[in-house]
Structure formats: C-alpha cells, structure tokens
C-alpha cells in the first residue's frame, strides 16, 4: 500500500533531479550564466509572461493555430481515409503518393505555401494542416483496412449491408488507429506552427517569442517560451489521450 503510493510520485523524481542539476550547473558556473539563467529567474519570467504578459497571448495564438490546423486536417483526412481504406485496392493505388508527401518535411513546403497564400495566418495554419492531414489519413486508412476480419464476417453473417458494415463496424474498428493519427497529427501541427512562427514574417506565436527573446538575448524569456511550448505539446497529447480513453474504452481489450 505504502509502496504503491510511493510509486505514484516516481515521475516527480526526474523533474526534481533535472532542477537540482540545473541549480548545480548555475551555482557552480559550469555554463556561462548569460546562456543559462537560474531556474528561479526562468520560472519568474514564465509566470510574469503567462499572466498578462506577451508570452500568454503568444501561447494562445499558437494554441489557436494548432487547433485550427488539426481541425482542418481531421476534417479532410478522416473522411478521405475511410473512403480510401474501405477499398484496399484503392488505397494501394494512392499509397505511394501519400507516403511520399508524408515523408516530405512539411517545412520544405513553406515557400510554396507562401507564394500561394501569402504571408499570414492562413499559410501557417495550412502548412501545418497539410502535414497533419497526411499523418491522420494514413492512420485512418490503415485502421479501416485492418478491421478484424472476424468482426466484419460476424456483421455480414447477421445480414448487415455493406454500408451498415462500414458505419457500424469498420468505422468503430478504425477509431483506435484514428486516435493514434490524431495524436501524431496534432504534435506535428504544433511543430510546424512553431517553426512557421519563427520565420515567415511572424509577429506573434510561441515560435516568434522564442526567436525574439533569443535575438534580444533575454535568456530567461527564451527558456520560459521553450517550456511553454513543451507544456503545450504535452498538454495536447494528454488531452487527446483522455478523449481517446473515453471514446475508445475498448481499445486493446
């Protein structure tokens, strides 16, 4: 019992160790103090930045862009993935194209999207949506294609029509894999949004905050922005995991 409760605190160990190590590095001047501010300075910068500071508004802008990008990606990729996955031959015929663009770094598409959509929010969101959509598409299609044959046969033997098998069985069978795609997709969207915010004529967003702080040599601010981005990525993943646990309670059982 006592042991179990102690185990709950295990994840804290790494965090504490990291902070202690950080303190030791600052205190022992292992790293140039200009490059590595103390944890206290960093967290103070994070606090003042998040509460009413520029960091808070940049954080929200990045959240908004990532969410839009993911929604657009999911809105296109989920129906398309189901459509393609429902016929294995159809998917095989486009598989190479999907895999090719999935493997293409989305950041390489910035210039193209800039030319087409100009400098602005739209471009950042669309590049991120492009990257995320391919990841989601591929996962949804595989989820549909890998639906358990026995389950499909069971529905068929009960007289279910093809459409019914698709909506009642295949769709639900593909949900666990769809969520894997969504989680990977949202992570990728965040990466692309943050990178986009650093470069193409950006004035806001977490990427811009990191970049600006670095340009101004405001190291506590830069670390604060990095941690905020990390917290955002972790939080989004956690959010999707908890949605997944709720809606796909049967996964792996």
């Amino acid at each position: 019992m006592n042991h179990d409760r102690l185990n709950l605190y295990l994840p804290v160990v790494g965090v504490v160790a990291l902070i202690v190590l950080w303190y030791v590095a600052v205190w022992g001047k292992v790293v140039d103090p200009v490059l590595l501010p103390s944890p206290v300075d960093t967290f103070r910068a994070m606090w003042t930045g998040m509460v009413g500071g520029k960091l808070g508004s940049d954080f929200l802008v990045t959240v908004q862009r990532t969410v839009y990008a993911t929604l657009i990606a999911a809105g296109i990729a989920i129906p398309l993935g189901i459509f393609l996955g429902a016929s294995e031959r159809l998917y095989r015929s486009v598989e190479f194209v999907v895999d090719f663009f999935r493997s293409t770094p989305a950041s390489a598409m910035f210039p193209l999207f800039l030319v087409i959509f100009g400098v602005g929010d739209r471009t950042k969101i669309l590049v991120a949506a492009f990257g995320a959509a391919l990841v989601i598409l591929f996962n949804v299609a595989y989820g549909v294609m890998n639906a358990r044959k026995t389950r499909l046969l069971a529905a068929k033997v009960m007289g279910a029509s093809r459409l019914r098998i698709l909506t009642d069985v295949m769709l639900l069978e593909s949900l666990p894999q769809t969520f894997v795609g969504l989680r990977n997709g949202v992570s990728l969207a965040l990466v692309i949004v943050v990178v986009a915010e650093m470069f193409i004529g950006s004035t806001d967003g977490l990427g811009n905050r990191v970049f600006e702080a670095q340009q101004l040599f405001a190291m506590p601010d830069m670390y604060a922005a990095i941690f905020a981005a990390g917290a955002l990525g972790y939080g989004l993943n956690l959010l999707f995991l908890s949605i997944e646990r709720r809606f796909v309670h049967w996964a792996g059982k």
């Binding site: 026995t150 389950r151 069971a154 009960m158 007289g159 009642d168 639900l172 049967w250």
Partner: protein, 268 residues
C-alpha cells in the same frame, strides 16, 4: 422456436428426421488442395449434428460454406428447398473476442442482429429480454464484453445468434478457446439451449468427447478430399450429464468414432 410440431418431430425416430440442409455435389479447393469434390450431405432437422474429423479436413470450411461465409466452387446447398438468403440462421465463431463488438454493451451486442432487421427499439428490447428469461442467463448485460469472462462472452455471442430465432444454429468450435471448467459449463448451457429451442444445430468440434456427448448425429469426415467416413447416430436421451460419459452406449459410440477417425488419419 417452440412450436409443438417441432417437438413432435424431435420425438420421432432419428432415422426419419427430414433433412433440413441438403448439400449436393459440393466442390471446393484452396490452391492445389481439393477439400471437397462432389460432396453430398443431409443434415437432419431439429437435431444437433456434430462434425468431427482430422485436422484440416475442412470441418469449418463446410459450415462456412453452408452459412455463406465463403463461396462454393460448385454445387448447391439448400435449406428445405430454400436458399440461404431466405432463411434466418445464427452463427457462433470460435473467437468470441473478435466476433463480438467491444464498443457495444452485451445487451447491444445481442440486439444487434435485430437492429439489422430494422425492428423497433421496444421490440428489440422485448425479444432480448424474452430470450434471457427463456435461457435463464444470469449475466449483467450492461457490461461490455471485455468485462465478462470468456465463457460469458461466448454465451453472449450464442445469444446474439439465437435472438433472431434462427432455423439453424452453426457453431464453429465454440468452446475451444475456453478452459476445461468453462467448457464443461458451456456444454451444459448449449445442451439446455438446444433442448429448450429444438433448433437444428450444427457444431464443429475438435474434441471427440464433446462431439459425441452433445450430438444426435456425429458426422465423421475423411481426409481431403473430404467424404463422409461415417454418420453415426447417438440417441441417448437428454438431458445428458456426467453419468453419460461412463454410459455403455456413449463409450461404445465414442470408441467407434475414434476407430474411424484413426483409420482416416492413418490413410495416406
């Protein structure tokens, strides 16, 4: 399900039970191996027929073809003159874990075929509840399949097959994924269900004791291409119980089946 005529047929002599399923000139091959080549079979109405034979002889293939899960290469299968799409039947898979829908509660799983038949919600409810009382099943049907034991899950999938009040019930090695204790329990459940409903039942089994214990007729298949090695009658009255296993008629029927089985296995 419980019409007096059906009961009367069941009380009649086994030999005169009319054919419910007729298989004629059935052919099936997978790649180079011919599983069936001009195979004929009559499955009697209102009886429990077990199918037993050497590994890979096509026991499951046979009921899968009868139930329309895999196409025939040639031949004809009729159900008292009707085609498969004109009758209601139930099918129970060996792998209940993959055959049940884990996103539906047990109740939802059982009523699913009624939903496919587009019955209204209240009627679906009544029919599932009627079946539950009829069978005396004591499972919490608001649980998801993965919350139940293996035996309970298989019971749920048997109920899903029975809820449409099928003319014929097919079971493909339904208990082979269960432990021995649960298998014994499920045999009793199946026997009770059969006695209650009198539904023509076809059971594929890889366990000779089970095949004989549960059956009115035991279909023994040969090696490929499969022929009927024997179609044994076993008419010990029901309910059968653990005493049955030491009954002289059971022992001699099982020994006879084993004999034929071994002849078939040794044949090269």
């Amino acid at each position: 399900m419980l019409d007096p005529a059906g009961v009367a047929v069941r009380l009649g002599s086994l030999a005169t039970a009319p054919a419910h399923v007729t298989v004629r000139r059935l052919c099936k091959s997978f790649g180079n191996s011919t599983i069936y080549d001009g195979f004929d079979l009559d499955i009697p109405r209102g009886r429990l027929t077990s199918i037993f034979g050497p590994n890979g002889c096509g026991k499951s293939t046979l009921i899968n073809m009868i139930a329309g899960l895999i196409p025939l290469d040639a031949g004809e299968i009729l159900f008292a003159g009707k085609r498969l799409n004109q009758i209601k039947f139930g099918y129970v898979f060996q792998n209940y874990r993959e055959a049940l829908f884990p996103w539906l509660r047990s109740f939802g799983n059982i009523e699913y075929p009624l939903k496919v038949m587009k019955l209204p919600k209240t009627e679906r409810r009544t029919r599932v509840e009627r079946l539950v009382t009829h069978l005396g099943v004591k499972i919490d049907l608001s649980q998801y399949p993965y919350q139940l034991s293996g035996g309970q899950q298989q019971l749920v999938s048997i109920m899903r097959a029975l809820v449409v009040e099928p003319e014929i019930l097919f079971l493909d090695e339904p208990f082979s994924a269960l432990d021995y204790e649960m298998t014994l329990f499920m045999r009793e459940q199946l026997q009770r269900i059969f006695m209650e409903t009198g539904t023509t039942t076809v059971l594929v089994s890889h366990d000779l004791e089970e095949a004989v214990y549960l059956a009115d007729r035991i279909l023994l298949l040969s090696r490929n291409p499969a022929r009927i090695a024997d179609f044994v009658t076993f008419d010990l009255p029901r309910p059968r119980d653990s005493q049955t296993l030491s009954d002289g008629q059971f022992v001699s029927t099982k020994a006879h089946c084993l004999d034929i089985f071994q002849q078939e296995v040794r044949r090269t």
